[in-house]
Point group: none
Chain length 216, copies 2
DNA sequence: GCTCAAATCAGGGTTTTCCCGATTGTGCCG
DNA sequence: CGGCACAATCGGGAAAACCCTGATTTGAGC
């Protein structure tokens, strides 16, 4: 009895590597490889595999949207997310899309094998590194579905974040918003706590990703 | 006679995969694995390998700057760039840094093997997909603006900039580079003067645009 | 040998950030 | 209604970062 696996990642050399590793395991068989989400969808329909190993960032159709369609069409197919990103938005998106496991590319191959077996036994698996994020997520207000991911921050906090990410000094932000420097500091502190980011550099990157500021 | 290889990529599972593939080739031996550029540098000094397979986007010290130091310290060590990006800035940066080959992760593993052999015979190798970019690059005016702007910064300054843009505290940068806080401050000051930028947020955006750090 | 740039560091004053608070208003819920 | 959470505001004091003015060393280039 072998497990039939579809592999979806837009980089061929990475697929080659994973394939070489997986095929060392006797009971695992790669039945198809996809280089984007749309192709993954087609191949899953065609081969009806036990497992899909799915990258997130892929052209044409991304891993999250591909997963959503797969799990709704064929709930028996288990999807394992294999991603470079530990950001909440990705983890969150993938969990909502119905993955059975979420692994980071940082992890060792042995973890992937472990995840495959656990998932096939009907259970879920999370990379230790992403577990934190999930807990963090569910301890806080249930983050209304499609509502807003940035909604975690208050209006005022987003204003302050934008100004920070635009390179304004704290003092300048204060005078611009007609509040004291102390208040701006408090807002910044709250933002950092909520996002679990601790420097202006990280805040800036977050703001860019969220479209709160541009790369100018 | 075996070729001794150092593998540098920040994702363990990808290293695992490449290692599995490379070790199928009898004459190739992975002597060390690095998860960032700085570690790669150390391991190259220690093991003096024939080949380094180098990812570009890595934390702490990126692949371009790591390559620059390796090729200047030990010209006999051949570096093969293995990157997700076909953007000109990366190809360009790596070629200037002295790589012997540039491959995309899109390519098949066989190409990597081919590249290794070609490089060891003293020649250069480019992924077909990136060849275009190189031609494009040299057909156009020697790119005064873009190329020169990054060239304004010294090697050390770029290292410091990367760490700043990754959100490291000054103190942390100092200890990581084994220099004093004062020196880091001086570097930062020089960077800001040269680029006419005055906040960490602006430095971060600059570093992202220049590919010195990623949006992670 | 001279020069210049890169890399390193120090002293000392100024500014900002960080870590502990606290207060006020508002909306919500039992 | 009375609590309760939370947004928005602000302070004091310690720690860290920032700024300015130097200085030394090393190596490349002329």
């Amino acid at each position: 009895m072998t497990y039939r696996i579809v592999l979806a990642d837009d980089h061929k050399i990475i697929r080659d590597g994973l394939k070489a590793l997986l095929e060392k395991e006797r009971e695992m068989e790669i039945v198809a490889e996809a280089e984007n989400g749309r192709q993954a969808l087609q191949l899953v329909r065609k081969h009806n595999p036990d497992i899909v190993i799915m990258d997130i960032s892929m052209p044409d159709l991304n891993g999250i949207d591909a997963t959503r369609q797969i799990t709704s069409e064929q709930p028996s197919v288990k999807v394992i997310a294999l991603s470079m990103h530990s950001q909440r938005q990705f983890v969150d998106g993938m969990l909502r899309a119905g993955v059975s496991a979420y692994l980071l590319k940082d992890t060792a191959f042995e973890e992937l094998v472990k995840a495959v077996r656990i998932v096939l036994s009907g259970k879920k698996y999370l990379s230790p590194d992403v577990t934190d994020i999930v807990f963090q997520d569910y301890r806080q207000p249930p983050v209304f579905d499609a509502a807003e991911q940035t909604a975690e921050l208050t209006q005022r906090e987003r204003e302050v974040l934008q100004l920070i990410a635009e390179g304004r000094a704290t003092k300048e932000i204060a005078s611009r918003l007609h509040i004291s420097v102390k208040t701006v500091e408090t807002h910044r502190k709250h933002i950092m706590e909520k996002l679990d980011l601790h420097t202006v550099a990280e805040l800036t990157k977050y703001a860019i990703r969220e479209g709160i500021t541009s790369l100018e």
